[in-house]
Subunit: 479 residues, 2 copies
Amino acid sequence: MKSMTAQLNPIFKPESIAVIGASNKAMKWGFRMLDFPLRTGYRGAIYPVNPNEERVQNLPAYKSILDVTGPVDLAVITVPAKQVAVVMKECIEKGVKGAIVISAGFAELGPEGKALEEEVVAIAREGGIRFVGPNCMGIWSAASTLSLAFETAPRPGPVAFVSQSGTFGGVLSEIACTKGYGLSKFISIGNQGDLCAADYLEYLAEDDDTKVILFYIEGFKEDTRFFDIAKDIVKKKPIVVYKAGRSMPGIKAMQSHTASISGSDEIFDAVCRQVGVIRTRETLHSFDVAEALAHQPLPRGKRVAILGSGGQGVVTADACSALGLEVPELDADTVRSLQESMPSYAPIPRNPVDFAGSPRTSMEEAAVVETLLSRDYIDGVISNAPFNAAAMSAMLGIIGMPKHLVDVTKLAIQGAEYLASLPEIYKKPLITIRFHRYEHDIILDILRGAGIPVYDTPEECARAMHALVQYAEAKQKYE
Amino acid sequence: MKSMTAQLNPIFKPESIAVIGASNKAMKWGFRMLDFPLRTGYRGAIYPVNPNEERVQNLPAYKSILDVTGPVDLAVITVPAKQVAVVMKECIEKGVKGAIVISAGFAELGPEGKALEEEVVAIAREGGIRFVGPNCMGIWSAASTLSLAFETAPRPGPVAFVSQSGTFGGVLSEIACTKGYGLSKFISIGNQGDLCAADYLEYLAEDDDTKVILFYIEGFKEDTRFFDIAKDIVKKKPIVVYKAGRSMPGIKAMQSHTASISGSDEIFDAVCRQVGVIRTRETLHSFDVAEALAHQPLPRGKRVAILGSGGQGVVTADACSALGLEVPELDADTVRSLQESMPSYAPIPRNPVDFAGSPRTSMEEAAVVETLLSRDYIDGVISNAPFNAAAMSAMLGIIGMPKHLVDVTKLAIQGAEYLASLPEIYKKPLITIRFHRYEHDIILDILRGAGIPVYDTPEECARAMHALVQYAEAKQKYE
């Protein structure tokens, strides 16, 4: 049997795709499935298939997939459910290597649809084609700049997002992208007729573009297999799961949505903990924590030092404590070292360290972060992102930035570069929080470019650090 | 004694302000305190006071407040701490009616600073001037379009935000404004040398621009008085508190930040529940729930109906249940009624109601919401915002919107207007969630214009509904 990579690469890295049911009508799925890859820069060959049109979206249309002259790696099927079996047979005859069945009208409708779905699965298995769906919204694959799910290609990034809910998963992805995160893959898995969550997990474990695997899941089809596979993968890649259907009303809604069956939430929780799968409690949190998991070194323990100003430091300490992280007091030696890099009029450093409004440069702040990271009893640091004087001066509306502000900006850039170098030196995670909502931020680019997450709130910082601690503990268990 | 309104109106609705310590140097507080009101459209008289400059920011400068010829309602004091007492005396001599002391270097620095602060307080009390601060970042007051705290005036709105942390409070306000929320007031309360949280509470209770009062607080100065006052105010306005310093590390950080003393978090929680103050667990949540509290009718109970698609409905049901809200099953009569307004091929309606991808119009969705709101056993509804076909067609990049999409947009607008009318008719809250991140959205404007909150996530919807239920329960207790 071929490896999962060999089986699914034609779906996620196709050199050619055929859209079967391609349409000129804007509200049709067959329109989007051709329009989206055309607009988002897919560079392989695209063949629209439609027996009733000469041209679709300005491309010559083929009556049948069998009429396409070149080879076809991936078939995207949007025809009505009842025609999918025939189309699947033609795909096999054509030698198509993988498929995505967008069409709805299968198991989600009841026994009759289920029989139809099983027929299609049997045909595909027989013919050696693996397929995504049915009843799904398509995929995004950064490797091929192939978007079937989004009109605008998401920012490429290290996170693969596998979603049992197409629309909602798409919305979450959009929000994640507006927060600056990037995706290696998005997979709307639909009914999991053929390929199921466990298969995607297996595939993504070997996918070099993917450093963190996220799931929005209502119910697993092969949950034992999922967790069996997960056990091995967790050793090398973090898996983050948001599990819906946690309450009775949620479970009932889920049953009519994806016909998923769910065990008790407590059991699911226990299994995740045992295997080392990180569970998030709010849908969007998955993307936040993934950002840290993708880039930051793992902490050796759960002792966090904080550099924050005023209320932000207080709230960060609270949020860390609420998640079971420790915020240890600083020893005399650390206090002495910190005082060397802090202005004399700053208050005596504690944890959180607070300059309390004392004027300082970003270099001085970064020196504090380094001192904290260098201590044996500190496992990771949450810090302010350097102050961007350029953005601040733009905010202040200062035309022609005064000389001393240019200097401050230069220092902030130096501070950001200094911070950016620290996680690798100390093999400890560094997470930052930014103040001010400025659009373009050179500081943000330097930090994110170096893999240092920049969050908006203390709570996001604490959750990210907690996820790193959870993952570190899971890995340690396997060593 | 004058009412709190009479005492504080000169601060929040001044007809003239003097900035004492006004500066031409961009990084000085005395620069911002003149620059911000000038840039944000404050229409009263502004007098810069600086003994060493002829002009400050192109305005003639006065050597002393005593040299200002016209009357001065509000003095904004930015001079070094040691000079504040003298300045305060001059303000009294001048007949200034209120002050904001931006200057730091008081109680937050220890006993010596505390003595200085007490001296200033004694002088102000003696002279009949109330003041904000010291050690604060200023205010925003929509009533006078007066911003001392923000370079860009926040959107005016029904929420007053009182923050013990200046910088962090400002950041939270900025994030809230980018989410589309508006503020009637922002008050950075600093050390609470004179005016304290309880005073602002008393003032805002009578402020017609303020419908919801939010606090970010580390420690109350007069907590018994605060809760005594709160007890009366809760009968007419909701009070939302985010309390920092909930953990030992948080409490320690807080003590060095604002020298606040905090009782146990459990006791604080119990007092809030008893008095009917709504407590939020994450800083930004305060603004989300305030949006619903400001505009929506209160539910009579905690039974929620949901109209949502797929995973979003499941997650909404989960999130409601986790907060103790009920998601009741629909009775046969409701199911029959719903089926009349739903397409025949849609699945049998449950709660959450899910069209499951069946084509429908926004008017059909709104009819479902009305049916749900009309039921005795449903106390409030969480629904999809109407689908904006215009935005969708823009997303799809369709140039020259086809006729049928124009119709769909018209239906969506009708649907939004239909939804907008429902809370008042049924005296029940309606909360919506939007899909797609389009910038400008006529649907969004219609709904928000009618006071219907539009959130990004199911969790935000559930928290808002929960806050409404909490506030309704608190009010019922007092009836």
